[in-house]
Assembly symmetry: C2
Homo-oligomer: 139 residues x 2
């Protein structure tokens, strides 16, 4: 991952099951945020997963740009924000991805099995941190 903007510290922090908020933009340009599970993949892409009925999916298909802020589970004053783009959207018919997220956060497969889930992979363009992750990179 020679081009990844993630430092080892940011990577270690993002690897934990932290509370996080993702924001997308509505077609009219209004930003819209929501709490989300996320999972940092080995290739430094970030996985998120949504119910197929989520309006956020429509936003992402219209404009792939996102921002995600993860708040350190152990210390709210440490947080890391990634600025990036969704580079892939695909169905998760066997619930493999949502199960991986559910296990990461709660140790169990996702309880609801009757709804189609959709995954999105985020490529990170920039990172900025605060608290123990502080840097001076402001997007």
């Amino acid at each position: 991952m020679p081009d990844s903007p993630l430092t080892p510290d940011a990577r270690a922090m993002l690897a934990k099951p932290n509370p996080a908020v993702i924001a997308t933009v509505r077609r009219d340009g209004q930003p819209v945020s929501a709490a989300t599970w996320y999972l940092l993949r080995n290739d430094d892409r970030i996985l998120v997963n949504m119910d197929e009925g989520r309006v956020r999916l429509k936003h992402l298909r219209n404009d792939p740009r996102i921002t995600l802020t993860a708040i350190d589970e152990a210390n709210w004053y440490t947080h890391v924000t990634v600025i990036g783009r969704v580079v892939e959207i695909y169905d998760d018919p066997d619930l493999v991805d949502i199960d991986a997220l559910s296990r990461h956060y709660g140790g169990k497969p996702y309880p609801r099995r009757d709804r189609l889930r959709v995954s999105a992979l985020i490529e990170v363009d920039r990172v900025h941190g605060w608290g123990e992750q502080k840097n001076n990179d402001q997007a």
Copy 2:
């Protein structure tokens, strides 16, 4: 507040010192998020406060639309998102607002006294909730 979209439940949740993330949009349309302190005012406007050097201030002056997701301090699975606009931006030369925020979150005045702070007041257009705050309003 006959026109406020905040329900009593959402108001009670937002009144607590919850971790929160605000997102603004950059001039090129890229959403950018950051963790933030916030304070729900009696008139249902939401106060945030920034160091004068924050790039977010430039984003807000260019496009006042924001979204803020507060995560329940007691239960991460409960969260409330507000979609709104900054309706007022003003200097906080005596640090009155940042002290109010600092007391709300930590019980003490803000420690750093040598930087100009700037306040922004957010008017809420829509609210959606999850967990104990669940509703079906998707922005």
